[in-house]
């Protein structure tokens, strides 16, 4: 079972991954967007980390809700509301349980993903974070490792896609051949789960 502490470790590992990979995320965004995805997430997760440290929530759901709220209030851009909604909605789905199972987490993530899809109007194949998140959530029923692999494959699979949502869509055909920055950061989000489980 996964307790609040696990969720805090998850968010910590994610923050570290974002800090480590911020340059690459921004480079990817420069190619088909506006060169800010890395700094956007760094700003958001740095704020979230501070909030989590200041007043550590004691349930898994509360960890995600607080993190999501911080992302919404500090990131801006498309990814702020989207990742914020993902985590808030997943957190809400977990309720105030003190411990949750991996399957419950997968279920909650699917609720979050559905909210993201509704908010942003994107479908799988549109070259967005959904292309990493959806397969990852499905594979999470199996294991953290399977989820991480599925997310990474999903991110890689965005390379040949033609973007239909977000800034990259303005490029039309020229969006093809680049990996989506949001799908890439989503793979970090899922990968951090595996780290937290170690």
């Amino acid at each position: 079972m996964l307790d609040a502490d696990f969720f805090l470790r998850w968010m910590n590992a994610l923050t570290e991954a974002v800090n480590r990979e911020a340059g690459r995320l921004t480079e990817l965004d420069a190619a088909i967007g506006d060169a800010d995805h890395g700094t956007n997430l760094q700003r958001g997760f740095t704020a979230a980390k501070a909030a989590l440290e200041k007043d550590a929530p004691d349930t898994p759901g509360a960890v995600l809700m607080l993190t999501g709220r911080q992302l919404i209030s500090t990131v801006g851009g498309a990814s702020g509301p989207l990742y914020g909604t993902l985590l808030r909605r997943a957190g809400k789905a977990l309720g105030d349980e003190a411990e949750v199972s991996r399957e419950q987490l997968a279920e909650a993530l699917r609720a979050g993903i559905a909210a993201v899809a509704q908010l942003g109007g994107a479908k799988p194949g549109d070259k967005t974070m959904l292309d990493a998140l959806e397969p990852a959530a499905a594979a999470l029923d199996e294991s953290f490792t399977a989820a991480r692999e599925a997310a990474e494959e999903g991110a890689a699979a965005t390379v040949p896609m033609l973007a239909r949502k977000g800034r990259a869509s303005y490029l039309g055909e020229r969006s093809i051949g680049h990996q989506d920055p949001g799908a890439t950061s989503s793979a970090l989000l899922i990968g951090a789960l595996e780290e937290a489980a170690r």
Binding site: E27, A31, D34, G38, V75, G77, G120, Y170, G172
Partner: protein
């Protein structure tokens, strides 16, 4: 990095401190990133609030003042502001007559302003919203995030602001803002890529003999790259792209806009070509504004925005305005 900055992290805050120092009549909340008219809320007047990523100055902060915006919310560079900023701005300018959000159509701006509208309404502020989406370079809008908001934002903010200043109620301010947007189209061209402070190098590689057609204002590449064109050819291309989508049957407002690093001398030369092609196409020009108004940091290039004016639009365009970047009649 050839930037006049301290560190990338403080660029937006530093800019706000400088705006405050230069314009004592504005109320600049550097910490919360909200720029408000010094005399807000104005009794009985609808508030007009906009915002968006920084890096497009003077948009939006430079348009706060009498006859235009009541408040502006600058985000990080090229990043939409967060909902908290807009909700705070709405609360600061609302006199009870409600607030219009002017939102450029980018996924980030749309989502954050949506959330802000919810927050503000929860606090009892009546909020209407108008999306600006004038950029004809974005085609197939069914398969994209839709046309971007670019130069027409200036028209919408000026004209909605003038209507609000006249005392028009929220639904009329909203209606005229929407009408201005519907009657406006833009097309932009880049002669160089943009360098954001955070990235520190150009967002894309543009060899010096080439240009990008159909760019936005965030350093994203355009739809097409071509060998360098003359000012005359660029004007033909840009104006025709706009006129393909907008067939004005009345004289137009024209914004001949620089992207930030194009010298005014060149921009005026380009304006001559824009007027020439409009004359050739039989489109009379009622008013022309030439300058760097909706920019993309240090990008060289230009955009053309046309708005099919009508009597009310012209009257509100000519109405007095007193902001850092746009002033007349007062």
């Amino acid at each position: 990095m050839r930037m006049l900055i301290n560190v990338p992290e403080t660029v937006v805050a530093d800019g706000l401190r400088g705006l405050a120092a230069a314009h004592p009549d504005l109320n600049v909340d550097v910490e919360n990133r909200v720029v408000v008219r010094g005399d807000a809320p104005v009794a009985g007047k609808v508030g007009v609030v906009s915002g968006g990523g920084s890096g497009h100055e003077p948009l939006h902060g430079g348009f706060v003042g009498f006859g235009m915006l009541s408040a502006a919310c600058p985000g990080e560079v090229f990043t939409s502001p967060v909902p908290d900023q807009m909700a705070r701005a709405a609360a600061a300018v609302d006199s009870g007559a409600g607030v219009l959000f002017v939102v450029k159509n980018y996924t980030g701006d749309v989502l954050n302003f949506d959330m802000a509208q919810e927050l503000a309404q929860d606090e009892g502020v009546q909020v209407a919203k108008v999306l600006v989406n004038d950029d004809v370079a974005v085609q197939d809008s069914l398969y994209t995030a839709g046309r971007r908001g670019t130069g027409a934002t200036l028209f919408v903010e000026k004209i909605a602001g003038a209507a609000a200043e006249e005392g028009a109620p929220l639904e009329r301010v909203e209606a005229i803002a929407r009408r201005v947007n519907e009657r406006s189209r833009s097309f932009g061209v880049a002669l160089s890529a943009v360098t954001t402070p955070a990235k520190g190098s150009p967002t894309f590689d543009l060899p010096s003999g080439e240009l990008e057609l159909g760019i936005g204002i965030h350093g994203e590449p355009g739809r097409e790259r071509r060998p360098m064109m003359t000012s005359r050819e660029i004007a033909d291309f840009a104006v025709d792209a706009v006129l393909e989508d907008l067939q004005p049957s009345s004289p137009v407002l024209a914004l001949v806009n620089g992207m930030g690093a194009t010298p005014l001398l060149e921009l005026y030369g380009f304006n001559a070509e824009v007027h020439r092609v409009l004359a050739e196409r039989g489109v009379p020009v009622a008013r022309t504004l030439v300058g760097n108004y909706v920019t993309s940091l240090d990008m060289a290039g230009c955009s053309v925005t046309l708005c099919e004016a009508d009597e009310e639009i012209l009257r509100l365009w000519d109405a007095p305005v007193e902001t850092p970047a746009l002033r007349w009649g007062r």
